[in-house]
Amino acid sequence: MQTGDVTRFAWGALCGYPTRTLLMLLAMGIGVAAVVVLTSLGEGARRYVTGEFASLGTNLIIVIPGRSETAGISPTTMMGETPRDLTLDDARALTRSYSVRRIAPLNVGSADINWRGKQREVTVLGTTHEMLAIRHWELSQGKFLPATDLDLATPVCVIGSKIRNELFGAQRAIGEWVRLGDRRFRVIGIMGSEGRSIGVDVQETVMIPVASAQQLFNTPSLFRILVEAKSREAIEPVKQFIIDTLQQRHQGEKDVTVITQDAVLATFDRIFSALTYAVGGIAAISLIVAGILIMNVMLVAVSQRTSEIGLLKALGAAPRQIIVLFLSEALLLSGLGAALGLLLGELASMLLRQLFADLPAHAPAWAVVTALLVAILTGLLFSLLPARRAARLDAVLALSRR
């Protein structure tokens, strides 16, 4: 038999039972589409989250007050002591390493902003001049916070473009005085539009000097200290330097948590990759189900077409030729089903990308290839039994049955 003839024969057999064929294609298609869509969602989420973390800055180390819980119960927690606050002096102490490029203390709160009677609630970030460079933010107008001493509470602010639009509309904002809580600040800059990262939409925040924020929120403590190491290799030594320095400053207590951006990135990457594998695997189960369906359908086909098989044998088909014919049918069925599924899946992830512009929902290549292979292999594997049953059929009995 020639390959073209086998394909044509198998195709003819599939077309002979259109409903059955369509249902099978659909079952296989949905299986493959499920794998494609679910893994594209997982992969999209992974890329989104890691992208967000990467955009935090480069070679970033974040200092958080309070011990991470992994350290377990320490004598201080037993005695009911609250962890020591991070202070501006702590922050200043961290600049004393050659490997530290820059630091930025951070305070966060919310306050009402007010300009000529127009008012809204905003997130207020108290920080310093260095923040702009650490976070790779850009200004669209004016200047960022001045490079002054950390203690200096200059009454200036930089506002997000969204706030600018809501408060000032078409009017000039730079140089205007706004009221934040019970204090007045002069607007000196407007943030550019690209600055966005986890939890904070820069366009909806107001930035003021960290000392001003401490006065505004009436607290001597800091929310975070961001430290940028000079190089990737410097990250670990700097982390150790921070831990040692702060332990020394806090009378020997290890009461801060230091996380590196790399570690966070790696963790998220792992979590989301695992998630993607998991959903992909779950979806792949539907492929196995589709394979079992194909087996059932092929078994039915063998008994439906008993006399046809008997006839083929009478016409001189060897057992192997019968197997080839039935396997080709299954292969065609699962191959077309898989192609259909791929098409459906890619269309669905395209739709997802349209609906959620931030989510890069692209099915990873490994998932697509695996889904197609699994689909075709299960189709083949599960039709092996029916095909062999067909080949073993007693020709005389097959022909005498009507």
């Binding site: 006399s307 044998k313 016409l315």
Partner: protein
């Protein structure tokens, strides 16, 4: 050309053994026209299937053109069936989704013949059976007689040495049954060995050699050359 020596074919039915063929000895020369008659269950179909290599004997030897085919493998038997033997069945056994031409083409496809050569052979065979204008009809668009003619075309397209017909007129009316027999006889006149199983004495008597079976044995085997 066909030579059966002490052929037995037993079927195990429950704990009972049915002797469908019981010590058959038969020699058929090339070009003979043989009819096989006998009561139902006498083993006619079993004998024909055995000669057509669709079935294997329980004991005995079957020589086809001097070659012992009882020992051939399944694959070799299939190839022999494809090249040397044509079957015609009572219930036609056409593949319903294939056109007349598609059905006739089947044995050539199984033989692996290239498409162009196939087309020519199929057209030629259909032409010989007056089916050219029905080539693209599906079996359900054909009459019984036409269907059996398509089946004969399929049986002869490989130019076999033997055509085996098991009650070829069993599902046909008198007129189209007669047509089918005429066609089979014309094949025989061109040198093909023809064996017809039938219940119709009128048809059976047209053969030059008439075999009567009973209980798996050959009851009589008469040469009819004399009255022709």
């Amino acid at each position: 050309m066909i030579s059966l020596e002490q052929i037995h074919r037993d079927f195990q039915v429950g704990d009972q053994v049915v002797h469908a063929l019981d010590d058959i000895n038969l020699d058929i020369s090339a070009g003979e026209y043989v009819s096989i008659m006998g009561p139902s269950g006498s083993g006619k179909s079993t004998l024909l299937n055995l000669i057509g290599l669709l079935d294997r004997a329980t004991a005995g030897h079957y020589l086809l053109n001097g070659e012992d085919v009882t020992t051939l493998s399944d694959v070799e038997q299939a190839a022999t069936r494809n090249r040397r033997i044509g079957f015609v069945f009572q219930s036609f056994h056409l593949v319903p989704r294939l056109s007349a031409a598609g059905n006739v083409e089947l044995p050539l496809i199984l033989a692996g013949m290239p498409a162009a050569e196939r087309k020519a052979r199929v057209a030629q065979t259909l032409q010989a059976l007056n089916l050219t204008d029905r080539a693209h009809h599906k079996p359900d668009q054909l009459s019984g007689g036409q269907r059996q003619r398509v089946a004969i075309a399929r049986a002869t397209v490989t130019e076999p040495a033997v055509v085996l017909a098991d009650e070829p007129t069993g599902n046909l009316d008198h007129k189209s049954g007669g047509d089918v027999i005429n066609i089979l006889e014309s094949l025989n006149q061109r040198g093909i060995t023809l064996m017809v199983v039938t219940h119709d004495a009128e048809i059976g008597d047209r053969a030059t050699r008439r075999i009567k079976m009973r209980d798996g044995r050959i009851e009589s085997d008469t040469q009819a050359d004399a009255d022709r």
